[in-house]
Symmetry: C2
């Protein structure tokens, strides 16, 4: 059987496919007898097969040309597998400890073969719902964000690293093809929650007025327009594009960032904000998961300290990389100009002030869209009591609106954490 | 003679070339006898031939693969002719009254055939040095800027206008190739004036301390970094990229914008600032051109009112286009979201506040680089008395530094004009 044009694989054709690919076959010791194959894609966009043999394993992820949960009415490019593969390789180059290795990529089949993240790896979001603490999470995710975002920005990159001069533009060119996914993100994050849209939903009827208030909030709409423009126009670094708590698999010792199929050159704060915003959603969902055995109070504290640590460690590590490479070939701040410690401090301070506001803005936008937009989060969805769920969601929404509108009044992440505490 | 690969034309081979191009030959009534050919390129980058026959005329502009004034030591892509041709056609589509028509483009030869702007058209900068008033200049240039910048931004453009979804990215892709010219601009505008560079020069020794002060001004360097980042990363509209007073040809009745070879998707304020900044340079040069017959006082007032009118008319026309198309297919502010007059007013106010700061910042950066960077302006260069020239330049530099550092403190263009007056 030849695979010369795209077709979705099933468990049977997958085995035929593996036989034709030496690099995958070799991972199984060239022994395809007694393979265990399990389809585990709980996302919207792909088939994900876990393939386990007697002497090895991997995951096969195949992109479909539409969003699975909505069906063929919302077509979306299967070329995203290309962007995911390129991004995984680029991120793996800078942060191999926190990104699964890519074994194989087939553009025709929109298919990636990569490391199987074995148990007890689970999706971080599921761990957060279960109330599991991950003591190394802030350390790992800050490492991942600092390394991938710094090294793909003009703070690090130079023209001599690349044949074509001007990495920002060169890089943009390569990722220009990822237009459709950017449009999709743009619509669901920056547009739909602020207008009547058939895709929008919310906890009904409890949040009817809250959803309407979002649609009628002029100040909020002015701010979301600014963020949308930054999202579309700002080519700051190769960002993951969908860095929520469902895009990381974790154990007590390991944090692996997956699914960068929305990767594109965009604002760094979009990644950092997505992660922190989703931690905040997890925090506000905890009261819905509390029961007689566990009031989740201690766990809420752990989430808050993880939010604070993630930002502070990210800041520290990003600045350390910047200091290390300040005399390198990065084009943003040439050493001949930014040549004294006071000035270096000034530009870093300004850079992080802007990045902090971006992070808060994008994080808030991501929270809002998960409450009144098309795609919700399991943190809230798994709260079966609608009134209880609505109460959790309303507090998260209240915080998000405050952050989006007043973000420039906050000085540091500790103030954010203290504001989160005040919302009851 | 065939022209199947690039070679620089001289007056003789140019005639041979015209014979091979029916569209050019036809412009001359297919009569090539007794042609007048004159090379008039006073720029750095190109040959420009005026070709006049008995029944027609045109201009041939050929890009050379290096900067002419510096020689072959500074190679630069001749592909810029491609960007110039694409931009001229796009601008001509939106503002045909103020952009010369393109008759012919040859990518292999890096050559454009376009309308000859007949006498008394002269380069605006030369008119400003001679003290000639152009009563329609503000009206025309604001029309050009409003129309070209609005229609190539996401305020107007939609995905349905184009096959490929997401015009910002699509458009970026097309112009990504213009990397080298962007790098050149980036270097001469945002880097060289702020460091020791062999290309820098200034009126010596008068401005030695002034040039050194620029290189040691931390606050200035922090601001220039922000502008550089915007210049590199922000894909707001198809900007001209070099819209100074040498890029317009004028008569009392006509204003024609030429030379968009640096065109790329960038921040709108870079164009508006370039034009206003160069008018301010022209203003400060006037004292150097004053003599017993003409103290230039009245002319300085005309320049100031042209600065004020240009911004105010640009603002008015841009907003009028926005209002006209607010329910159109532009993707920046969807009508379903930005659906009431108060909100429309709020977003326009915010948009123009940001654009005003960008304009002041980029305008100031353009002024600074013309005084202590590699390429100077004839406005000052034509003042032969070095002490007098330095005095004019110093005042312009003082204003530019103030604008760059304090631009967010200004409310409107009238305050800028009044600040210009105060610098003596």
């Amino acid at each position: 059987m030849a695979f010369t044009e795209f077709r979705p694989l099933d468990e049977k054709s997958l085995v035929e496919y593996i036989k034709t690919v030496p690099s995958l076959s070799a991972k199984l010791g060239d022994n395809l007898d007694g393979l265990t194959i399990k389809e585990v894609g709980d996302g919207n966009l792909n088939f994900v097969y876990i393939v386990i043999g007697s002497s090895g394993s991997f995951v096969i992820k195949q992109a479909l040309p539409y969003i699975r949960s909505i069906g063929e009415s919302w077509p979306i490019t299967k070329e995203r597998a290309y962007f995911e593969a390129v991004a995984l390789k680029e991120y793996g180059r800078w942060c191999p400890d926190n990104v699964p290795e890519v074994y194989h990529f087939d553009r025709t089949m929109s298919l990636i073969g990569m490391r199987y993240l074995e148990p007890p790896h689970i999706i971080l979001r599921k761990g957060l719902i279960a109330g599991v603490e991950y003591p190394l999470l802030a350390e790992h995710i800050s490492e991942y964000m600092a390394k991938t975002l710094f090294h793909t920005s003009l703070l690090y990159r130079s023209t001599t690293d690349h044949k074509k001069a001007g990495i920002a533009f060169f890089a943009v060119a390569e990722f220009c093809g990822n237009v459709e996914l950017c449009r999709h993100t743009g619509q669901v994050v920056f547009s739909d929650p602020y207008r009547i849209s058939p895709h929008n939903r919310w906890t009904f009827p409890h949040l009817d007025h809250d959803a309407e208030a979002v649609r009628n909030d002029n100040a909020l709409k002015v701010e979301i327009a600014e963020l949308k423009s930054k999202f579309v126009e700002r080519t700051q670094a190769l960002i993951h594009g969908d860095l929520h708590t469902g895009s990381a698999m974790v154990t007590q010792e390991s944090t692996q960032v997956i699914d960068p199929e929305f990767a594109f050159y965009g604002p760094i704060g979009f990644d950092v904000g997505a992660f922190l915003g989703n931690l905040i959603l997890a925090y506000f969902a905890q009261d819905g998961h509390a029961n007689a055995n566990n009031d989740r109070k201690k766990y809420k504290e752990w989430i808050l300290s993880t939010i604070e640590d993630t930002w502070n460690l990210f800041h520290k590590k990003f600045i350390a990389l910047w200091d290390k490479h300040k005399d390198g070939s990065g084009e943003a701040y040439l050493p001949a100009i930014y040549n004294n410690p006071e000035l270096q401090h000034l530009i870093q301070k300004k850079y992080f002030e802007d990045l902090f506001y971006d992070t808060l803005g994008f994080g808030a936008a991501k929270m809002i869209r998960r409450i009144v937009g098309v795609a919700h989060v399991e943190d809230f969805e798994s709260i079966t009591d609608a009134a209880k769920r609505a109460s959790c969601e309303r507090r998260a929404l209240e915080l998000a609106k405050l952050l989006l509108k007043e973000r420039r009044k906050f000085q540091d992440i500790a103030e954010i954490v203290s504001t989160i505490r005040q919302i009851q």
